[in-house]
Structure formats: C-alpha cells, structure tokens
C-alpha cells in the first residue's frame, strides 16, 4: 500500500472545517486529552487513527451484509463462552435426574445431560443456547447472502481475488463450526447426523473405514467424538476463523470498499461517509441491532428442542431428520442418488451413491472458490476494478451464478423432500424425482433464462439512453402523425446506463514462436462462451445520431447536450 497521504488533497485541510462548528471544549476534554497522550506515547496509535479514522465507506444496504455475518459471529463468541461454563463435553453415561419430566431416569451422555441442565435449570441458559444457535444460523445465512452480493456485482475482481478466497475459507470454516456445534449435545438428531457422516466417510475408497475408526475412536458412536468435536468447535476452528477474519478485514481496509457506478464515482475515488463519526455510529448501532434481533428471535422462537429428541440411541430416529440448513445441500445430494449405484470391483466395494454426491459438492464448492481466478484468466484484464458491475452488464457471469444457485437450491430443497411431500400433499417419490430433474437440468435452464434476461435488460437500457424515457405524452406532428414524446435523460441518469465494462471474445493468435498453444485455444473458446453474446454500451456517436433523428421528428423537443 502506498503511503502518500492524499486525503488532504481532496478535502479541506482540517477535518473540523468540513462544515462542522469547531468542537466546543467540554469538561472531560482535558482528561481525554491526557489519556490519549498517555496511550499514544506508548502505542503511536495516533498514526492509526489518522489513517483509518476518516476512511470513507460507501453507503449501500448490500454493503452491510458482511457486517451482519461479523456481528453474528461476535454474538456467537459471547453466547458460546457463556455456554462453555456449563457444558460438559463428555460421553460418559449418566442417568438423567434433572427437572425435565419426560426424560427422568433415562440413560444419556454427560454432554446431553449438561445441555438439558443449561436449558432447564439455569436462568437464561435456554436463552443463551437459543441465541447461540439462532446466531449460528444467521451467521452462515449472512455469509451466503454476502457472497452472492460480491459475486453478482463482480466485487471479486482484481485486486480482491485473494480476499474472495479468504472469504470462501471463512464460509467453509463457518460450516465446520456449525456442524461440530450441532453434534455436541449428543441428542438423537445430532447422533443420527453423525451416523450419516460415519456412513459417508466409510464410503470413501481405501481409507474410509480407517478415517471413521480414528474419528470416532473405534466403532461408531464410541465415547470420544463429542469431546473431540468440542476441541475443534471451541479452539481450533474459532482460532482459524478469527485469523482469517482478521486477514479478510485487513485486506478490506487496504483495498478500500468498492462502490456502485454513479455520477461522481470513479475507479480512482471512493465516495461515502467517514468512519468517524457517521460510519462508526451506523456500524456500531447496527451491531446492537443485529444482536437485538437475534436475542428477540431467541426469546420468542424455540430452536433445536433437544429435550424432544432425547439422548442418542442408534435404534430410534425421528421423521424429518435433517441437518441444520447450511448442511442441507450435502444431505440433499445424498438423497438424490438413484438406487444401486454401488459396485464391487476386484473384490473392493465402491459406493458411487456416496462418491458422486461428494464429487458434485466438491465441484460446486471449487467453482465458487476459484471463480475470480477463472474469470480473470478468461478476460486477461489486469486492471484494478473498484466500480461494481450491475449484474445485467455481465450476463454470462450472472447466468453462471444463477446456474450455481439453482444447483445449490435443488440440492438444498432435496434435503426437505419429506417435508415438502407432507406439507404440499405430494408423493415423496415424485418430489425426489422432480429434484433429481432440477439438479441435472435446472442449472442449464437457469443459465439460459438468466442470460437472455440480462441481455434483454441491457437492450432496454440502450433503448432508454438513445431515445429517453417514454413520457406518455402524445403529440401530433404538423404532418398529422402522432408520436409519443420521449423525455431525454439527465446526464446523471445517462452516466449510470452507459458506464460499464465490455469485453469481446478472445481471438486466437499465434504467440511469438508462431504457435497457438492448446491452453490459448481453450481460453479462446471459454472467452467465446463468456462474451459472444453481448450488448455494447451506447457511444457518444450513437447518441448524437439518435438525437439527430428525433430532432428531425419533434420540432423544438428538448435536446440533449451533445
């Protein structure tokens, strides 16, 4: 990062002069000054404050989604810490004698017992369990929405590809945190979830059985897995998460925030509100709002009633056994494999009914993780991009996103096939067949439709730029002809519609040695796939030509500036 200060060049020399009355010295000022001096002499924090304190953040609702994730995570840390004071990560067998009547006298693990005690015997314990779990669901949902925003606006382009990847790692870590946490109470639901993991792991060729054996410390369910997952859940995974989060935020500060295209906004500036005080107040207030919403939900709505599920026992299972929503897509993938996909080759069993779903999931995740690098390679664009794309102006990217979303949604929905069947009065088998169809064909349909819609919207934008808005006013021309008057756009409106990136398909050209490399050939065909269908932004010449036409038609109509 370059250290030359530029703020002074674009702003008045003193912050206080920016339209604010000079700060009135208050009573506490002297003490504050002394304290600030004390700290700065020991930390040189003034440099940091100077650097970051008036940093500019653009204002847009979708830029707050990452913050929702961050704040949910803080809530998770706080509530989780409270829970650790009471939770016992042990699978030692005990007989429950707590206050929940329908489980009295039942044998269970110490983990389940302590989770029940948190729920039934500690004031606020149930509230904090519910806060923790609801916040976890919100955390991952917010990450998901945040990723969609980044993707569809192209915010992952240079220089932010690495930060996208870090974000992806955060997403995976969040999933791991979620799953390990879901398994801790050792209730019937989470136990069956672990059983499914055990079955999946055993399906891995060659080493599957051994991995399962080591994970569970012997045969499933064993007596080790809860304490092992607990170590991961409260130590290793949060540590990694916080480290990655730090890197994520540091890169955000270094790269500065992106902004939507608009008048006055360029690739070389960032327009918005300063951290001190406006953004700090908004973001700080927003933390309390997110926290408040989570606590509100937790005080009103039950989540994961482990007392209904009872302790884990390998024999029973509940109808509607599902993982938490964020693992749903994996569970759905397992459900969709058709029967008899297992083969025995040379005496060894290969479970394609498990391997194919795993490969599909890995493929989906890998595409997400590496998409920025793929698109960067295809366009060959090495410039920095700080202005966001409107989704319609990158039709192929938007269509790929829609296809991946459809795949994800189909897998996700498949995980609730049984509930869809009962609630919409359908046949379970038909629901699954429909989901199989959607998983395979849906992404292609979504791709095609989305791309066509994007191109159509771009065409509409061109139309508006060239001919103005339809005003609804009908005018009769001297010749007797009726036409509708089109209001021309203001400069500001036009700027939003004409200022976007356009790429053309790559032409295969021989390199310096006169050969066309196979890689280049692939790149050219992928580039063709991306940019063959495109609508160019309106040029000045086109606008002038259009105006010329309309001037000829409507005499005295308000003309454009050009």
């Amino acid at each position: 990062m370059i250290t030359t200060t530029t703020t002074t060049e674009s702003q008045p020399t003193s912050y206080a002069e920016q339209g604010n009355a000079p700060v009135r010295p208050a009573k506490g000022m002297k003490f504050m000054g002394a304290a600030a001096n004390y700290v700065d002499e020991r930390t040189s924090i003034s440099g940091l404050v100077k650097e970051v304190g008036r940093k500019i953040f653009p204002d847009h609702w979708s830029f707050m989604l990452g913050e929702v994730a961050l704040y949910s995570f803080v809530v998770i840390l706080l509530s989780g810490t409270f829970l650790t004071f009471f939770f016992q990560p042990s699978m030692a067998e005990v007989t429950y004698n707590g206050s929940y009547v329908p489980l009295k006298g039942i044998d269970m693990s110490a983990a389940m017992q302590s989770a029940l005690n948190i729920s039934f015997d500690i004031r606020g314990g149930l509230l904090f369990r519910q806060i923790h779990h609801w916040a976890a669901l919100l955390f991952i949902a917010a990450i998901g929405l945040h990723m969609l925003r980044i993707y569809f606006t192209g915010a992952f382009r240079k220089p932010r590809e690495i930060n996208w990847f870090i974000g992806f790692v955060l997403f995976i870590l969040a999933l791991a945190e979620g799953f390990t946490g879901y398994s801790l109470p050792d209730d019937l639901l989470s136990g069956n979830g672990l059983r499914i993991i055990d079955g999946m792991v055993k399906g891995i060729p060659v080493i599957g059985v051994w991995i399962s054996y080591l994970l569970f410390g012997g045969e499933f369910p064993g007596t080790a897995v809860v304490s092992r997952l607990y170590s991961l859940h409260i130590m290793l995974l949060p540590a990694l998460l916080i480290a990655m989060l730090g890197a994520h935020l540091l890169l955000l500060i270094i790269n500065k925030h992106t902004q939507f295209a608009g008048p006055g906004k360029t690739n070389n500036n960032v327009v918005g509100v300063p951290v001190m005080p406006v953004f700090a107040a908004k973001a700080g207030g927003f933390f309390f709002i997110v926290f408040g919403v989570i606590v509100l939900i937790a005080s009103l709505f039950t989540i994961n009633p482990i007392w209904n599920y009872g302790p884990y026992d390998p024999s029973p299972v509940s109808a509607g056994t599902q993982p938490d929503w964020y693992i749903g897509f994996a569970d759905g993938a397992l459900r969709l494999a058709p029967p008899h996909w297992e083969v025995v080759w040379g005496g060894y069993t290969v479970s394609f009914n498990i391997l194919v779903p795993i490969v599909v999931l890995m493929g989906l995740l890998a595409t997400v993780a590496f998409y920025p690098f793929i698109e960067g390679w295809v366009t060959g664009d090495k410039r920095e991009h700080h202005i966001l794309d409107r989704p319609r102006n990158a039709p192929t990217r938007t269509a790929i996103g829609a296809a991946l979303m459809t795949l994800y949604a189909a897998l996700w929905a498949a995980a609730s096939s049984d509930l869809m069947a009962t609630h919409f009065k359908l046949s379970l088998n038909q629901v699954i067949h429909v989901m199989q169809f959607l998983t395979v064909i849906g992404p292609f349909i979504a791709f095609w439709i989305t791309k066509r819609v994007c191109l159509a919207l771009q065409k509409k934008d061109r139309e508006i730029v060239l001919h103005g808005h339809e005003s609804g006013r009908i005018v009769r021309l001297p010749g007797g002809e009726y036409i509708e008057v089109h209001e021309p756009l203001t400069d500001y409106e036009r700027w939003n519609l004409v200022s976007y990136n356009e790429y053309e398909p790559l032409m295969v050209r021989p390199n310096a040695r006169g050969v066309v490399t196979p890689i280049e050939r692939i790149r050219a065909s992928v580039s063709g796939f991306f940019f063959e269908d495109r609508i160019s932004p309106v040029t000045k010449a086109e606008i002038e030509a259009a105006h010329h036409d309309s001037h000829a038609e409507i005499d005295g109509g308000p003309g454009g500036k050009h």
Binding site: M1, I2, T4, T6, E9, S10, S99, F120, D121, R123, L126, N192, R195, D198, G199, M200, K202, V206, V209, Y213, L214, G217, G218, A224, G264, T266, N267, N269, V270, V273, P277, G284, F286, F287, G292, V295, S299, Y312, D313, S315, P316, V317, S318, A319, R335, E342, V344, T349, T379, E384, I387, S417, Y492, R494, S499, Y500, N501, E502, Y503, K540
Partner: protein, 356 residues
C-alpha cells in the same frame, strides 16, 4: 468503467504517482470517445439541517431511545429475578426465557436504533470523496523490498549453499511426520474391517424387545406387527451403543405366501416372521418406517425404500444393497432366537466389505 475513468481523472484530485502504471486490459473494449462523468449531483439538505426545531426533536428522540435502553436492560435484570425457574415446570422456563430475552433484546435494539438515528439525522450527511491509491506498492518500495530479500539471500547464502537449503527443506518436511503418526492411536489397535463384520447375534441368542429386553414369543408377533428388537445380551454389553448400532433389528410378520425368499434362505423366517437389520445400507440411519400394507420399509433420512416381501431389496432411494436378514427360528418354548449372526456386514458399505 475503469477505462473511462483512466482518461478522465476526477475533479482536481491528484492521481497517485504510482498508479498510472499501464496494465493489460485483456479483452476489454476501450471506448475511443468515452462519456464524461458528470460529477456528483447537488447535495440535498435534510429537514434537520434546515430546521433547528427538527434537529432538536431528533436529538430528543435519540436520547429517549438511549434512556429506553437503560430501562429495558434494567427490566431484563428484573425479569431474571422475577421469573425464577421452578424445577419441572416448563412454563416457568418459558416465562424466564421470554422476559429476560425481551428485556435484553429491546435494550440492545434501542441502543442500535438510537445510534443509527443519531448518525442519520444529526451527523453530517454530506458524502466525502477520498482518492484511492493503487494496491501495488510503488516501484521504489518494491525495489526496496526486493533489495531486502536479495540482501537476506546474500548474507545467508540461501540460494548459493544448496546443501544447507535442501537439508532444511527435508528437515521441515520430516518434522511434520511425527505429527501425522501420533494420530494413529485416535482409534484402538484392532482392525476395523474385522470388527465391523460381527455383531452380538449368534446361534440361540434370544430376540428381545427394545428397550425392555423382554423375550418375544413367535405367537405374539401377529400379522402386521413390527417389533423393534435387540439381542438379549445387549443390555449387559459393555459397549452398549456400539453394539446396538450394529445389532438393532426390526421383526415383522407377513403372510408367508407374500415372502419370496431367495434360494437357501427359505428357513431364515419363521411362519412369516422375518428379522432384518435396522441399519440402512446407505449411510446407516435406522430404517424403521414399516408400511404394513405395502410391506415397504422407508428410511427417514434419505428415503431409501426396501421391499420386505422381496428380501428387502432396494426399490427407491440412494441405498444399493438389501438390508441384511437375520436368520431366526424358535426355541423349545416358542421364543424367537437367532440361528446365527448376520451373514454379511450390516450398515453402510465400506471398501473391504466384500473381501472375505
């Protein structure tokens, strides 16, 4: 976007000295005659900017919200005391949860909404423009950094002394190995491929009810019944859950004429009473949804469906293999007993499953 801006730097701003480094735009189309950025539109003043009464009102609202927050937080403390938990009374927990939660939530929300309202109505609304610098370090900085590395290389001889370097790489790789090996004892020393093949069932083992462990008379298993069954020795087993996870069985009685037993298994049933492993051959959920008219068994986790009349063959869903059948008969007193253990490993498939 960028292409337009490169040519039209904004309003008096000094472009970064390091920035105008020309990099490839790839296949981007650079317009020859770009539009001009019209610049920021005029700033609109808010009511609170113009009307001091409104500003005062907004200020009052903000402080009211903060005061409300104090009240709600105090109410949460009061709720903590006023709604104790009575053991055994879930209603008391419900009240505790509700009012403690509402107090905390409203306290938090009032702070949040107050702060946002403050920033939106009273703090300056004018947007500020800050210039970006290129992310890339300036050439001078990069040269300096390269110099640091070169100096390090030169002084240490890292590049030159290949023996030192390569042995270091080797050492760094080798030091990880103990860290891998040490995880072997996460699991016990026996080979899982052997353990997975055996359950508690053996010749003469009584079928008993889950969870009571009561023996079952064949005559008691009436047509259309489904009995959830465990081996009699399970309740004394040390590894109760591990053994149950393999040995759980569902006993059903069908009309003997409905059963199509494969060759060699005609005697595995007793008068239409059949016993099948409850552990799904897909990923191991208990398959226990027995439809007594269609004779289908459904797994609630991934919807694999097995046809009991046809040796529990898979007729729907992701499972591949039929549920293993437990051969049963009756003892002298008419109680159901196993003829032997399962003849194949129960539960999910694994790599060496079909090895002898």
């Amino acid at each position: 976007m960028a292409d337009h801006d490169d040519e039209t730097p904004q309003a008096g701003s000094a472009v970064e000295k390091s920035e105008p480094l020309k990099v490839s735009a790839g296949t981007a189309v650079i317009p020859t005659d770009p539009f001009e950025n019209p610049g920021e539109p005029a700033h609109h003043l808010r009511v609170t900017d113009i009307d001091p009464v409104e500003e005062k009102k907004a200020a009052r609202q903000v402080s009211t919200l903060f005061f409300a927050s104090i009240v709600f937080s105090c109410l949460a403390v009061a709720a903590y005391i006023a709604f104790p938990i009575t053991p055994g009374d879930t209603g008391s927990i419900r009240l505790n949860n509700l009012f403690l939660g509402l107090g905390i939530a409203l306290g938090l929300l009032a702070i949040g909404i107050g702060a946002v309202h403050w920033s939106k109505t009273i703090m300056p609304a004018r947007e500020i423009t800050e210039m970006r610098h290129g992310t890339r370090g300036s050439d001078a900085t990069r040269a300096k950094a390269a110099e640091v590395f070169e100096l390090g290389n030169k002084e240490s001889g890292f590049g030159r002394r290949s023996l030192i370097r390569n042995s270091l790489f080797g050492a760094l790789f080798a030091f990880i190995l103990p860290g891998v090996v040490i995880f072997r004892d996460l699991g016990p020393k026996v080979d899982p491929n052997v353990v997975l093949r055996h359950t508690l069932w053996k010749k003469g083992m009584h079928l008993t009810l889950d969870p009571s462990g009561t023996r079952i008379k064949a005559a008691d298993v009436t047509l259309g019944s489904a009995f959830h069954v465990i081996p009699e020795s399970l309740l004394e087993s040390e590894d109760l859950l591990e053994e149950k996870a393999k040995a759980a069985v569902l006993v059903m009685r069908l009309n003997p004429d409905d059963l199509n037993e494969p060759e060699g298994r005609e005697n595995w049933q007793y008068n239409g009473i059949v016993a099948y492993s409850k552990i799904c051959t897909h990923v191991g959920c208990p398959v226990a949804l027995y439809e007594q008219q269609t004779h289908h068994l459904l797994c609630p986790c991934h919807q694999s469906t097995f046809d009991v009349t046809d040796n529990c063959k898979v007729i729907f869903g992701p499972a591949s293999r039929p549920l293993p059948q437990l051969p049963i008969t009756v003892d002298a007193e008419g109680y159901l007993v196993a003829q032997s253990d399962f003849h194949e490993p129960v539960g999910p498939s694994f790599w060496e499953r079909d090895r002898a």
